[in-house]
Protein backbone atom coordinates (compact mmCIF):
# COMPACT_ATOMS: atom_id res chain seq x y z
CA UNK A 1 0.00 0.00 0.00
CA UNK A 2 2.91 2.33 0.75
CA UNK A 3 3.73 2.78 -2.93
CA UNK A 4 0.40 4.53 -3.56
CA UNK A 5 0.45 8.31 -3.37
CA UNK A 6 -1.69 10.14 -0.85
CA UNK A 7 -4.42 12.52 -1.97
CA UNK A 8 -2.24 15.42 -0.91
CA UNK A 9 0.71 14.19 -2.94
CA UNK A 10 -1.42 13.98 -6.04
CA UNK A 11 -2.95 17.38 -5.51
CA UNK A 12 0.42 19.02 -4.97
CA UNK A 13 1.76 17.24 -8.03
CA UNK A 14 -1.11 18.72 -10.01
CA UNK A 15 -0.01 22.19 -8.98
CA UNK A 16 -2.58 22.77 -6.26
CA UNK A 17 -1.21 25.02 -3.52
CA UNK A 18 -1.36 24.22 0.18
CA UNK A 19 -3.75 27.16 0.55
CA UNK A 20 -6.10 25.76 -2.10
CA UNK A 21 -5.85 22.34 -0.51
CA UNK A 22 -7.00 23.72 2.87
CA UNK A 23 -9.84 25.54 1.12
CA UNK A 24 -10.87 22.28 -0.48
CA UNK A 25 -10.89 20.59 2.95
CA UNK A 26 -13.09 23.36 4.40
CA UNK A 27 -15.52 23.11 1.47
CA UNK A 28 -15.69 19.34 1.77
CA UNK A 29 -16.45 19.64 5.49
CA UNK A 30 -19.21 22.13 4.73
CA UNK A 31 -20.63 19.99 1.93
CA UNK A 32 -20.83 17.00 4.23
CA UNK A 33 -22.42 19.03 7.02
CA UNK A 34 -19.47 18.80 9.41
CA UNK A 35 -18.22 21.40 11.87
CA UNK A 36 -15.02 23.40 11.20
CA UNK A 37 -13.21 21.19 13.72
CA UNK A 38 -13.30 18.45 11.10
CA UNK A 39 -11.24 20.48 8.62
CA UNK A 40 -7.84 19.52 10.12
CA UNK A 41 -9.03 15.91 10.34
CA UNK A 42 -9.92 15.90 6.66
CA UNK A 43 -6.60 17.55 5.83
CA UNK A 44 -4.75 15.00 7.93
CA UNK A 45 -6.57 12.13 6.25
CA UNK A 46 -5.81 13.54 2.84
CA UNK A 47 -2.13 13.97 3.70
CA UNK A 48 -1.59 10.55 5.13
CA UNK A 49 -4.07 8.18 3.51
CA UNK A 50 -3.16 6.44 0.31
CA UNK A 51 -5.65 6.88 -2.52
CA UNK A 52 -8.27 4.17 -2.56
CA UNK A 53 -8.22 1.97 -5.61
CA UNK A 54 -11.56 1.60 -7.34
CA UNK A 55 -12.64 -1.09 -9.77
CA UNK A 56 -15.63 -0.05 -11.83
CA UNK A 57 -17.41 -2.88 -13.62
CA UNK A 58 -20.26 -2.72 -16.12
CA UNK A 59 -22.99 -5.35 -16.31
CA UNK A 60 -26.39 -5.21 -17.94
CA UNK A 61 -26.74 -1.42 -18.20
CA UNK A 62 -26.91 1.58 -20.55
CA UNK A 63 -23.88 3.53 -19.22
CA UNK A 64 -26.09 6.45 -18.19
CA UNK A 65 -24.51 6.27 -14.71
CA UNK A 66 -21.06 6.84 -16.23
CA UNK A 67 -22.45 9.58 -18.42
CA UNK A 68 -23.89 11.26 -15.36
CA UNK A 69 -20.72 10.74 -13.30
CA UNK A 70 -18.41 12.46 -15.78
CA UNK A 71 -20.72 15.51 -15.73
CA UNK A 72 -20.28 16.13 -12.03
CA UNK A 73 -19.65 19.77 -11.24
CA UNK A 74 -18.93 19.73 -7.50
CA UNK A 75 -16.45 18.16 -7.24
CA UNK A 76 -15.52 17.84 -10.86
CA UNK A 77 -15.32 14.24 -11.98
CA UNK A 78 -11.82 15.04 -13.22
CA UNK A 79 -10.79 15.82 -9.67
CA UNK A 80 -12.40 12.69 -8.32
CA UNK A 81 -11.03 10.39 -10.95
CA UNK A 82 -7.55 11.93 -11.14
CA UNK A 83 -6.94 13.17 -7.64
CA UNK A 84 -9.05 11.34 -5.16
CA UNK A 85 -9.58 7.84 -6.31
CA UNK A 86 -7.28 5.62 -8.19
CA UNK A 87 -9.66 4.35 -10.81
CA UNK A 88 -7.60 1.33 -11.71
CA UNK A 89 -10.18 -0.36 -13.88
CA UNK A 90 -13.19 0.95 -15.75
CA UNK A 91 -13.58 -0.70 -19.14
CA UNK A 92 -15.63 2.22 -20.45
CA UNK A 93 -13.42 5.10 -19.31
CA UNK A 94 -9.95 3.52 -19.46
CA UNK A 95 -7.63 3.87 -22.44
CA UNK A 96 -6.61 0.23 -22.44
CA UNK A 97 -8.83 -2.35 -24.08
CA UNK A 98 -9.04 -6.09 -24.58
CA UNK A 99 -6.36 -8.21 -22.90
CA UNK A 100 -4.53 -5.18 -21.52
CA UNK A 101 -7.69 -4.05 -19.74
CA UNK A 102 -8.41 -7.49 -18.32
CA UNK A 103 -4.82 -7.73 -17.14
CA UNK A 104 -5.23 -4.43 -15.28
CA UNK A 105 -8.39 -5.82 -13.72
CA UNK A 106 -6.64 -8.92 -12.40
CA UNK A 107 -3.62 -6.95 -11.30
CA UNK A 108 -5.69 -4.50 -9.26
CA UNK A 109 -7.57 -7.29 -7.49
CA UNK A 110 -4.30 -9.07 -6.73
CA UNK A 111 -2.43 -5.96 -5.60
CA UNK A 112 -5.06 -4.40 -3.37
CA UNK A 113 -6.75 -7.50 -1.99
CA UNK A 114 -9.37 -6.50 0.56
CA UNK A 115 -8.68 -2.79 0.11
CA UNK A 116 -10.34 -1.71 -3.10
CA UNK A 117 -13.85 -0.46 -3.63
CA UNK A 118 -15.92 -2.26 -6.23
CA UNK A 119 -18.30 0.05 -8.11
CA UNK A 120 -20.94 -1.85 -10.05
CA UNK A 121 -22.89 -0.25 -12.85
CA UNK A 122 -25.67 -2.49 -14.16
CA UNK A 123 -26.59 -5.92 -12.87
CA UNK A 124 -25.96 -9.54 -13.66
CA UNK A 125 -28.64 -11.53 -15.52
CA UNK A 126 -28.78 -15.00 -13.97
CA UNK A 127 -30.92 -16.85 -16.50
CA UNK A 128 -29.17 -19.35 -18.86
CA UNK A 129 -26.12 -19.33 -16.55
CA UNK A 130 -25.68 -15.60 -17.04
CA UNK A 131 -25.17 -15.82 -20.81
CA UNK A 132 -27.22 -12.67 -21.46
CA UNK A 133 -24.32 -10.46 -20.45
CA UNK A 134 -20.79 -11.40 -21.46
CA UNK A 135 -17.77 -9.20 -20.69
CA UNK A 136 -14.22 -10.27 -21.36
CA UNK A 137 -15.52 -13.57 -22.73
CA UNK A 138 -17.20 -14.59 -19.47
CA UNK A 139 -20.69 -14.18 -18.02
CA UNK A 140 -20.77 -10.90 -16.09
CA UNK A 141 -22.00 -12.63 -12.94
CA UNK A 142 -18.70 -14.54 -12.71
CA UNK A 143 -16.69 -11.35 -13.10
CA UNK A 144 -18.85 -9.70 -10.42
CA UNK A 145 -18.38 -12.55 -7.96
CA UNK A 146 -14.65 -12.62 -8.69
CA UNK A 147 -14.21 -8.88 -8.15
CA UNK A 148 -16.51 -8.79 -5.11
CA UNK A 149 -14.64 -11.55 -3.30
CA UNK A 150 -11.75 -9.33 -2.24
CA UNK A 151 -13.49 -5.96 -2.26
CA UNK A 152 -13.69 -3.82 0.87
CA UNK A 153 -17.13 -2.47 -0.05
CA UNK A 154 -19.42 -2.35 -3.04
CA UNK A 155 -21.17 0.64 -4.53
CA UNK A 156 -24.29 -0.24 -6.53
CA UNK A 157 -24.52 2.57 -9.08
CA UNK A 158 -27.97 3.39 -10.37
CA UNK A 159 -31.33 1.66 -10.48
CA UNK A 160 -29.87 -1.34 -12.36
CA UNK A 161 -27.39 -2.39 -9.72
CA UNK A 162 -29.64 -1.27 -6.83
CA UNK A 163 -33.03 -2.63 -7.89
CA UNK A 164 -32.83 -4.13 -11.38
CA UNK A 165 -34.34 -1.29 -13.44
CA UNK A 166 -35.84 -1.87 -16.89
CA UNK A 167 -34.12 -5.17 -17.62
CA UNK A 168 -35.63 -6.58 -14.41
CA UNK A 169 -39.11 -5.25 -15.20
CA UNK A 170 -41.78 -7.89 -15.61
CA UNK A 171 -41.47 -10.51 -16.99
CA UNK A 172 -37.68 -10.13 -16.63
CA UNK A 173 -36.73 -12.70 -19.28
CA UNK A 174 -33.00 -12.60 -18.52
CA UNK A 175 -33.61 -12.76 -14.75
CA UNK A 176 -31.62 -9.56 -14.22
CA UNK A 177 -30.85 -9.45 -10.49
CA UNK A 178 -29.70 -6.51 -8.35
CA UNK A 179 -26.21 -6.76 -6.90
CA UNK A 180 -27.25 -7.18 -3.26
CA UNK A 181 -29.15 -10.36 -4.13
CA UNK A 182 -26.04 -11.91 -5.71
CA UNK A 183 -23.34 -10.64 -3.34
CA UNK A 184 -24.54 -11.07 0.21
CA UNK A 185 -21.34 -10.99 2.28
CA UNK A 186 -20.07 -7.45 1.60
CA UNK A 187 -21.21 -4.02 2.73
CA UNK A 188 -23.22 -2.62 -0.18
CA UNK A 189 -24.21 1.00 -0.65
CA UNK A 190 -27.02 1.65 -3.11
CA UNK A 191 -27.00 4.85 -5.13
CA UNK A 192 -30.22 4.45 -7.12
CA UNK A 193 -31.49 6.64 -9.92
CA UNK A 194 -31.63 6.28 -13.66
CA UNK A 195 -29.02 7.69 -13.65
CA UNK A 196 -28.09 8.87 -10.14
CA UNK A 197 -27.30 12.57 -9.81
CA UNK A 198 -23.64 13.22 -10.63
CA UNK A 199 -22.99 15.22 -7.45
CA UNK A 200 -24.58 12.45 -5.39
CA UNK A 201 -22.23 9.91 -6.96
CA UNK A 202 -19.08 11.95 -6.40
CA UNK A 203 -20.36 13.01 -2.96
CA UNK A 204 -20.65 9.39 -1.90
CA UNK A 205 -17.12 8.63 -3.12
CA UNK A 206 -15.71 11.74 -1.42
CA UNK A 207 -17.28 10.70 1.87
CA UNK A 208 -16.01 7.14 1.66
CA UNK A 209 -12.45 8.20 0.86
CA UNK A 210 -12.31 10.97 3.42
CA UNK A 211 -13.67 8.98 6.33
CA UNK A 212 -12.72 5.52 5.22
CA UNK A 213 -16.19 4.20 5.96
CA UNK A 214 -19.63 3.98 4.42
CA UNK A 215 -21.88 6.99 4.85
CA UNK A 216 -24.93 6.53 7.06
CA UNK A 217 -27.41 4.37 5.18
CA UNK A 218 -31.19 4.33 5.36
CA UNK A 219 -33.43 1.24 5.60
CA UNK A 220 -32.96 0.41 1.95
CA UNK A 221 -29.19 0.82 2.06
CA UNK A 222 -29.04 4.24 0.40
CA UNK A 223 -26.87 7.11 1.72
CA UNK A 224 -29.21 8.96 4.08
CA UNK A 225 -27.71 12.36 3.28
CA UNK A 226 -29.10 12.21 -0.27
CA UNK A 227 -32.03 9.78 -0.06
CA UNK A 228 -33.76 10.53 3.24
CA UNK A 229 -36.38 12.84 1.77
CA UNK A 230 -38.81 12.65 -1.10
CA UNK A 231 -38.72 14.85 -4.17
CA UNK A 232 -42.15 16.04 -2.94
CA UNK A 233 -40.79 17.20 0.43
CA UNK A 234 -38.39 19.71 -1.12
CA UNK A 235 -40.19 20.44 -4.38
CA UNK A 236 -40.34 24.14 -5.25
CA UNK A 237 -43.88 23.54 -6.65
CA UNK A 238 -45.09 22.13 -3.30
CA UNK A 239 -47.01 25.34 -2.39
CA UNK A 240 -49.18 24.76 -5.47
CA UNK A 241 -49.84 21.20 -4.30
CA UNK A 242 -50.95 22.39 -0.87
CA UNK A 243 -53.04 25.14 -2.46
CA UNK A 244 -54.75 22.61 -4.73
CA UNK A 245 -53.42 24.21 -7.92
CA UNK A 246 -52.62 21.56 -10.49
CA UNK A 247 -51.62 21.24 -14.11
CA UNK A 248 -54.72 19.63 -15.66
CA UNK A 249 -53.33 19.13 -19.18
CA UNK A 250 -49.84 19.41 -20.63
CA UNK A 251 -50.47 22.63 -22.52
CA UNK A 252 -52.93 24.42 -20.26
CA UNK A 253 -52.51 27.79 -18.57
CA UNK A 254 -51.64 26.07 -15.29
CA UNK A 255 -48.71 24.29 -16.95
CA UNK A 256 -47.39 27.66 -18.09
CA UNK A 257 -47.82 29.04 -14.58
CA UNK A 258 -45.76 26.18 -13.18
CA UNK A 259 -48.44 24.56 -11.01
CA UNK A 260 -48.07 21.18 -9.33
CA UNK A 261 -47.76 18.18 -11.69
CA UNK A 262 -49.46 15.74 -9.28
CA UNK A 263 -52.47 15.18 -11.52
CA UNK A 264 -50.17 14.50 -14.46
CA UNK A 265 -48.89 11.47 -12.55
CA UNK A 266 -45.84 12.99 -10.86
CA UNK A 267 -44.20 10.35 -8.64
CA UNK A 268 -42.44 12.95 -6.49
CA UNK A 269 -44.56 11.94 -3.44
CA UNK A 270 -43.19 8.39 -3.55
CA UNK A 271 -39.64 9.03 -4.70
CA UNK A 272 -36.61 9.41 -2.46
CA UNK A 273 -33.85 11.39 -4.13
CA UNK A 274 -32.08 14.74 -4.05
CA UNK A 275 -33.25 16.06 -7.44
CA UNK A 276 -35.32 18.89 -5.99
CA UNK A 277 -32.34 20.20 -3.98
CA UNK A 278 -29.15 19.25 -5.82
CA UNK A 279 -30.74 19.30 -9.31
CA UNK A 280 -28.96 18.32 -12.52
CA UNK A 281 -26.31 19.65 -14.88
CA UNK A 282 -24.56 21.94 -12.41
CA UNK A 283 -27.84 22.75 -10.68
CA UNK A 284 -29.54 24.01 -13.84
CA UNK A 285 -32.83 22.14 -13.58
CA UNK A 286 -34.58 18.87 -12.79
CA UNK A 287 -37.58 17.12 -14.42
CA UNK A 288 -40.31 18.94 -12.48
CA UNK A 289 -38.65 22.30 -13.09
CA UNK A 290 -38.72 21.63 -16.81
CA UNK A 291 -42.43 20.85 -16.65
CA UNK A 292 -42.58 17.07 -16.53
CA UNK A 293 -43.56 14.99 -13.52
CA UNK A 294 -41.05 12.82 -11.69
CA UNK A 295 -41.16 9.23 -12.98
CA UNK A 296 -39.73 7.81 -9.76
CA UNK A 297 -36.57 6.43 -11.39
CA UNK A 298 -34.73 5.97 -8.10
CA UNK A 299 -37.46 3.73 -6.67
CA UNK A 300 -37.56 -0.04 -6.50
CA UNK A 301 -39.35 -1.52 -9.53
CA UNK A 302 -40.46 1.84 -10.93
CA UNK A 303 -41.10 0.30 -14.36
CA UNK A 304 -43.73 -2.00 -12.88
CA UNK A 305 -45.81 0.69 -11.18
CA UNK A 306 -48.15 1.41 -14.07
CA UNK A 307 -48.18 4.57 -16.13
CA UNK A 308 -45.77 7.45 -15.48
CA UNK A 309 -48.80 9.71 -16.07
CA UNK A 310 -51.28 8.35 -13.49
CA UNK A 311 -51.43 8.97 -9.76
CA UNK A 312 -53.82 6.09 -9.11
CA UNK A 313 -51.87 3.49 -11.06
CA UNK A 314 -53.03 0.23 -12.61
CA UNK A 315 -52.91 -2.93 -10.53
CA UNK A 316 -50.35 -4.64 -12.73
CA UNK A 317 -49.39 -6.97 -9.89
CA UNK A 318 -52.76 -8.69 -10.18
CA UNK A 319 -52.56 -8.91 -13.96
CA UNK A 320 -55.46 -6.50 -14.45
CA UNK A 321 -55.20 -3.30 -16.40
CA UNK A 322 -57.46 -1.53 -13.92
CA UNK A 323 -56.59 0.83 -11.11
CA UNK A 324 -57.69 0.54 -7.48
CA UNK A 325 -60.63 2.90 -8.03
CA UNK A 326 -61.95 0.96 -11.01
CA UNK A 327 -61.65 -2.35 -9.17
CA UNK A 328 -63.17 -0.85 -6.02
CA UNK A 329 -66.04 0.83 -7.82
CA UNK A 330 -66.84 -2.42 -9.64
CA UNK A 331 -66.81 -4.35 -6.35
CA UNK A 332 -68.97 -1.72 -4.62
CA UNK A 333 -71.32 -1.72 -7.64
CA UNK A 334 -71.75 -5.49 -7.58
CA UNK A 335 -72.31 -5.50 -3.82
CA UNK A 336 -74.68 -2.54 -4.09
CA UNK A 337 -76.71 -4.25 -6.83
CA UNK A 338 -76.75 -7.43 -4.76
CA UNK A 339 -77.99 -5.52 -1.75
CA UNK A 340 -80.73 -3.84 -3.82
CA UNK A 341 -81.85 -7.19 -5.26
CA UNK A 342 -81.80 -8.76 -1.81
CA UNK A 343 -83.84 -5.88 -0.41
CA UNK A 344 -86.40 -6.30 -3.20
CA UNK A 345 -86.76 -10.03 -2.57
CA UNK A 346 -87.02 -9.38 1.17
CA UNK A 347 -89.84 -6.91 0.59
CA UNK A 348 -91.67 -9.34 -1.71
CA UNK A 349 -91.32 -12.17 0.77
CA UNK A 350 -92.60 -9.98 3.57
CA UNK A 351 -95.60 -8.91 1.46
CA UNK A 352 -96.28 -12.55 0.55
CA UNK A 353 -96.24 -13.56 4.20
CA UNK A 354 -98.66 -10.79 5.05
CA UNK A 355 -101.20 -11.83 2.40
CA UNK A 356 -100.92 -15.46 3.49
CA UNK A 357 -101.46 -14.72 7.15
CA UNK A 358 -104.20 -12.14 6.59
CA UNK A 359 -107.16 -14.52 5.83
CA UNK A 360 -106.33 -16.82 8.74
CA UNK A 361 -106.58 -13.84 11.03
CA UNK A 362 -110.04 -13.06 9.74
CA UNK A 363 -111.10 -16.66 10.25
CA UNK A 364 -109.97 -16.54 13.81
Amino acid sequence: MSQIETFYDVMRRQGITRRSFMKYCSLTAAALGLSPSFVPKIAHAMETKPRTPVIWVHGLECTCCSESFIRSAHPLAKDVVLSMISLDYDDTLMAAAGHAAEAAFEETIEKYKGNYILAVEGNPPLNEDGMFCITGGKPFVEKLRHAAKDAKAIISWGACASYGCVQAAKPNPTQATPVHKVITDKPIIKVPGCPPIAEVMTGVITYMLTFDRLPELDRQGRPAMFYSQRIHDKCYRRPHFDAGQFVEAWDDENARKGYCLYKMGCKGPTTYNACSTVRWNEGVSFPIQSGHGCIGCSEDGFWDQGSFYDRVTDLTQFGVEKNADEVGLAAAGVVGAGVAAHAAVSALKAAQKKTQSAPSKEEA
Partner: protein
Protein backbone atom coordinates in the same frame (compact mmCIF):
# COMPACT_ATOMS: atom_id res chain seq x y z
CA UNK B 1 -97.90 -18.98 28.45
CA UNK B 2 -95.52 -18.38 31.33
CA UNK B 3 -93.31 -21.33 30.29
CA UNK B 4 -92.79 -19.83 26.83
CA UNK B 5 -91.54 -16.46 27.86
CA UNK B 6 -87.90 -15.62 28.35
CA UNK B 7 -88.81 -13.16 31.05
CA UNK B 8 -91.89 -14.01 33.00
CA UNK B 9 -94.27 -11.08 32.93
CA UNK B 10 -95.62 -9.98 36.22
CA UNK B 11 -99.19 -11.25 36.12
CA UNK B 12 -100.04 -9.46 39.32
CA UNK B 13 -99.59 -6.06 37.81
CA UNK B 14 -102.29 -4.68 35.57
CA UNK B 15 -101.14 -2.24 32.89
CA UNK B 16 -101.75 1.20 34.17
CA UNK B 17 -105.04 2.51 32.94
CA UNK B 18 -103.26 5.70 32.00
CA UNK B 19 -101.14 3.76 29.49
CA UNK B 20 -104.24 3.15 27.41
CA UNK B 21 -104.33 6.82 26.74
CA UNK B 22 -100.73 6.92 25.56
CA UNK B 23 -100.32 7.30 21.81
CA UNK B 24 -102.82 5.13 20.09
CA UNK B 25 -102.28 1.95 22.07
CA UNK B 26 -104.74 -0.82 21.40
CA UNK B 27 -105.71 -3.49 23.87
CA UNK B 28 -103.24 -5.89 22.16
CA UNK B 29 -100.46 -3.35 22.52
CA UNK B 30 -101.15 -3.01 26.21
CA UNK B 31 -101.02 -6.76 26.61
CA UNK B 32 -97.70 -7.05 24.81
CA UNK B 33 -96.10 -4.33 26.89
CA UNK B 34 -96.15 -6.84 29.69
CA UNK B 35 -94.22 -9.41 27.61
CA UNK B 36 -91.64 -7.42 25.72
CA UNK B 37 -88.24 -7.26 27.23
CA UNK B 38 -84.75 -6.10 26.51
CA UNK B 39 -81.14 -6.98 27.29
CA UNK B 40 -78.47 -4.37 27.85
CA UNK B 41 -75.73 -5.20 25.34
CA UNK B 42 -73.54 -2.26 24.34
CA UNK B 43 -72.02 -0.09 27.04
CA UNK B 44 -71.52 3.60 26.30
CA UNK B 45 -67.85 3.38 25.23
CA UNK B 46 -68.79 0.78 22.60
CA UNK B 47 -71.62 2.92 21.27
CA UNK B 48 -69.54 6.09 21.29
CA UNK B 49 -66.72 4.29 19.49
CA UNK B 50 -69.13 2.97 16.87
CA UNK B 51 -70.39 6.40 15.89
CA UNK B 52 -67.03 8.18 16.14
CA UNK B 53 -65.53 5.40 14.06
CA UNK B 54 -68.32 5.69 11.49
CA UNK B 55 -67.84 9.46 11.23
CA UNK B 56 -64.05 9.06 10.89
CA UNK B 57 -64.42 6.43 8.15
CA UNK B 58 -66.80 8.69 6.25
CA UNK B 59 -64.36 11.61 6.44
CA UNK B 60 -61.43 9.36 5.56
CA UNK B 61 -63.15 7.91 2.49
CA UNK B 62 -64.17 11.29 1.11
CA UNK B 63 -60.88 13.08 1.82
CA UNK B 64 -58.88 10.02 0.76
CA UNK B 65 -60.64 10.05 -2.58
CA UNK B 66 -59.78 13.71 -3.09
CA UNK B 67 -56.15 13.17 -2.09
CA UNK B 68 -55.73 10.55 -4.82
CA UNK B 69 -57.90 12.41 -7.35
CA UNK B 70 -57.81 16.07 -6.32
CA UNK B 71 -60.58 18.58 -6.94
CA UNK B 72 -60.32 20.75 -10.04
CA UNK B 73 -57.74 23.52 -9.72
CA UNK B 74 -58.97 26.54 -7.79
CA UNK B 75 -57.61 30.03 -8.15
CA UNK B 76 -59.28 32.20 -5.56
CA UNK B 77 -56.03 33.42 -4.05
CA UNK B 78 -52.27 33.33 -4.32
CA UNK B 79 -50.86 29.90 -3.52
CA UNK B 80 -49.60 31.32 -0.22
CA UNK B 81 -53.11 32.10 0.99
CA UNK B 82 -54.82 29.09 -0.52
CA UNK B 83 -54.68 25.72 1.27
CA UNK B 84 -57.35 23.53 -0.38
CA UNK B 85 -55.29 20.35 -0.68
CA UNK B 86 -53.68 21.13 2.67
CA UNK B 87 -57.03 21.23 4.47
CA UNK B 88 -58.22 18.05 2.76
CA UNK B 89 -55.07 16.28 3.85
CA UNK B 90 -55.36 17.76 7.33
CA UNK B 91 -58.90 16.41 7.66
CA UNK B 92 -57.69 13.01 6.48
CA UNK B 93 -54.82 12.89 8.95
CA UNK B 94 -56.89 14.27 11.84
CA UNK B 95 -59.66 11.72 11.27
CA UNK B 96 -57.04 8.97 10.98
CA UNK B 97 -55.52 9.94 14.32
CA UNK B 98 -58.93 9.93 15.99
CA UNK B 99 -59.65 6.55 14.39
CA UNK B 100 -56.33 5.21 15.68
CA UNK B 101 -56.95 6.38 19.24
CA UNK B 102 -60.49 5.02 19.03
CA UNK B 103 -59.30 1.65 17.78
CA UNK B 104 -56.86 1.25 20.65
CA UNK B 105 -59.48 2.45 23.14
CA UNK B 106 -61.87 -0.13 21.70
CA UNK B 107 -59.28 -2.88 22.17
CA UNK B 108 -58.79 -1.71 25.74
CA UNK B 109 -62.54 -1.86 26.28
CA UNK B 110 -62.61 -5.44 24.99
CA UNK B 111 -60.61 -6.31 28.10
CA UNK B 112 -62.44 -4.25 30.69
CA UNK B 113 -65.90 -4.04 29.18
CA UNK B 114 -68.70 -6.59 29.27
CA UNK B 115 -68.84 -9.91 27.44
CA UNK B 116 -70.29 -8.42 24.26
CA UNK B 117 -67.42 -5.95 23.89
CA UNK B 118 -65.12 -8.83 22.94
CA UNK B 119 -67.17 -10.25 20.05
CA UNK B 120 -65.50 -7.99 17.47
CA UNK B 121 -62.05 -9.43 17.99
CA UNK B 122 -62.37 -13.16 17.42
CA UNK B 123 -64.14 -15.77 15.31
CA UNK B 124 -65.02 -18.90 17.32
CA UNK B 125 -64.15 -21.35 14.54
CA UNK B 126 -63.83 -24.28 16.96
CA UNK B 127 -67.38 -23.90 18.25
CA UNK B 128 -69.62 -26.40 16.47
CA UNK B 129 -72.81 -24.70 17.54
CA UNK B 130 -71.52 -21.40 16.17
CA UNK B 131 -71.00 -22.99 12.74
CA UNK B 132 -74.58 -24.31 12.81
CA UNK B 133 -75.75 -20.78 13.37
CA UNK B 134 -73.54 -19.51 10.55
CA UNK B 135 -75.34 -21.87 8.17
CA UNK B 136 -78.68 -20.98 9.69
CA UNK B 137 -77.98 -17.30 9.04
CA UNK B 138 -76.91 -18.07 5.46
CA UNK B 139 -80.21 -19.88 4.95
CA UNK B 140 -82.06 -16.92 6.47
CA UNK B 141 -80.39 -14.55 4.03
CA UNK B 142 -81.14 -16.94 1.16
CA UNK B 143 -84.84 -16.82 2.13
CA UNK B 144 -84.88 -20.52 3.05
CA UNK B 145 -85.52 -20.04 6.75
CA UNK B 146 -88.90 -18.50 7.52
CA UNK B 147 -88.18 -17.38 11.05
CA UNK B 148 -84.96 -15.61 12.10
CA UNK B 149 -83.22 -16.40 15.37
CA UNK B 150 -82.81 -14.02 18.23
CA UNK B 151 -79.31 -12.79 18.97
CA UNK B 152 -78.18 -10.69 21.88
CA UNK B 153 -74.84 -9.66 20.34
CA UNK B 154 -73.88 -10.00 16.66
CA UNK B 155 -75.24 -12.94 14.71
CA UNK B 156 -72.45 -15.29 13.49
CA UNK B 157 -72.43 -13.89 9.95
CA UNK B 158 -72.20 -10.37 11.29
CA UNK B 159 -69.39 -11.45 13.59
CA UNK B 160 -67.41 -12.82 10.63
CA UNK B 161 -67.98 -9.59 8.70
CA UNK B 162 -67.03 -7.41 11.67
CA UNK B 163 -63.88 -9.38 12.30
CA UNK B 164 -62.60 -9.45 8.73
CA UNK B 165 -63.77 -6.05 7.52
CA UNK B 166 -63.50 -3.97 10.66
CA UNK B 167 -60.92 -5.56 12.95
CA UNK B 168 -58.57 -6.75 10.21
CA UNK B 169 -59.60 -4.07 7.70
CA UNK B 170 -58.98 -1.23 10.12
CA UNK B 171 -55.68 -2.77 11.19
CA UNK B 172 -54.59 -2.94 7.55
CA UNK B 173 -55.60 0.67 6.94
CA UNK B 174 -53.82 1.83 10.10
CA UNK B 175 -50.61 0.04 9.15
CA UNK B 176 -50.52 1.25 5.54
CA UNK B 177 -51.85 4.69 6.43
CA UNK B 178 -49.31 5.35 9.16
CA UNK B 179 -46.49 4.13 6.92
CA UNK B 180 -47.60 6.63 4.26
CA UNK B 181 -47.88 9.34 6.90
CA UNK B 182 -44.34 8.49 8.06
CA UNK B 183 -43.09 9.49 4.61
CA UNK B 184 -44.30 13.03 5.12
CA UNK B 185 -43.38 13.15 8.80
CA UNK B 186 -39.81 12.34 7.80
CA UNK B 187 -37.18 9.80 8.72
CA UNK B 188 -36.54 9.60 12.45
CA UNK B 189 -40.01 10.90 13.34
CA UNK B 190 -42.22 8.85 15.66
CA UNK B 191 -44.49 7.53 12.85
CA UNK B 192 -41.35 6.59 10.96
CA UNK B 193 -39.86 4.76 13.93
CA UNK B 194 -43.10 2.84 14.44
CA UNK B 195 -44.20 2.18 10.86
CA UNK B 196 -41.18 2.98 8.65
CA UNK B 197 -40.30 -0.72 8.43
CA UNK B 198 -43.27 -1.17 6.12
CA UNK B 199 -41.79 1.37 3.67
CA UNK B 200 -38.59 -0.66 3.63
CA UNK B 201 -40.56 -3.87 3.21
CA UNK B 202 -42.56 -2.86 0.14
CA UNK B 203 -39.69 -0.85 -1.38
CA UNK B 204 -41.70 1.42 -3.61
CA UNK B 205 -44.41 3.28 -1.70
CA UNK B 206 -46.55 3.67 -4.81
CA UNK B 207 -47.53 0.07 -3.96
CA UNK B 208 -48.60 1.22 -0.47
CA UNK B 209 -50.76 3.94 -2.02
CA UNK B 210 -52.48 1.34 -4.21
CA UNK B 211 -53.07 -1.08 -1.32
CA UNK B 212 -54.35 1.72 0.92
CA UNK B 213 -56.74 2.61 -1.85
CA UNK B 214 -57.96 -0.96 -2.23
CA UNK B 215 -58.40 -1.08 1.55
CA UNK B 216 -60.77 1.89 1.33
CA UNK B 217 -62.96 0.01 -1.13
CA UNK B 218 -62.87 -3.03 1.12
CA UNK B 219 -64.34 -0.87 3.87
CA UNK B 220 -66.83 0.83 1.53
CA UNK B 221 -68.15 -2.62 0.56
CA UNK B 222 -68.53 -3.42 4.26
CA UNK B 223 -70.38 -0.13 4.82
CA UNK B 224 -72.94 -1.00 2.14
CA UNK B 225 -73.57 -4.48 3.54
CA UNK B 226 -73.52 -3.35 7.17
CA UNK B 227 -76.01 -0.52 6.75
CA UNK B 228 -78.30 -2.65 4.61
CA UNK B 229 -78.22 -5.59 7.02
CA UNK B 230 -78.79 -3.36 10.06
CA UNK B 231 -81.86 -1.68 8.53
CA UNK B 232 -83.21 -4.90 7.01
CA UNK B 233 -82.93 -6.80 10.29
CA UNK B 234 -84.38 -3.87 12.18
CA UNK B 235 -87.49 -4.35 10.03
CA UNK B 236 -87.54 -8.10 9.46
CA UNK B 237 -85.91 -9.72 12.46
CA UNK B 238 -87.45 -10.20 15.86
CA UNK B 239 -85.20 -7.74 17.61
CA UNK B 240 -84.03 -4.14 17.54
CA UNK B 241 -80.89 -3.30 15.54
CA UNK B 242 -80.33 0.39 14.85
CA UNK B 243 -81.58 1.70 18.17
CA UNK B 244 -79.44 -0.85 20.01
CA UNK B 245 -76.35 1.04 18.88
CA UNK B 246 -77.92 4.22 20.24
CA UNK B 247 -79.41 3.11 23.55
CA UNK B 248 -77.38 -0.04 24.11
CA UNK B 249 -80.55 -2.08 24.74
CA UNK B 250 -81.49 -5.03 22.56
CA UNK B 251 -85.29 -5.16 22.60
CA UNK B 252 -87.23 -8.15 21.36
CA UNK B 253 -90.47 -8.05 19.45
CA UNK B 254 -91.93 -11.28 20.84
CA UNK B 255 -91.46 -13.52 23.82
CA UNK B 256 -90.75 -16.76 22.03
CA UNK B 257 -87.60 -18.21 23.68
CA UNK B 258 -86.01 -19.39 20.42
Amino acid sequence: MAEDTIHVPNPGVEPLPSAQLAGDATADDIESIRKRTSVFVYEWPVRLWHWVNAACILVLCVTGWFIASPLPTMNFAEATYQFVMGYIRFAHFAAAQILTVGFFARIYWAFVGNHHARQLFYVPILNKHWWQEVFFELRWYMFIEKQPKKYVGHNPLAQIAMFFFMTLGTTFMLLTGWALYAEGAGQGSLPDQVMGWLIGLVGNTQILHTYHHLGMWFIVVFMIVHIYAAIREDIMSRQSMVSTMISGHRTFKDDSPE
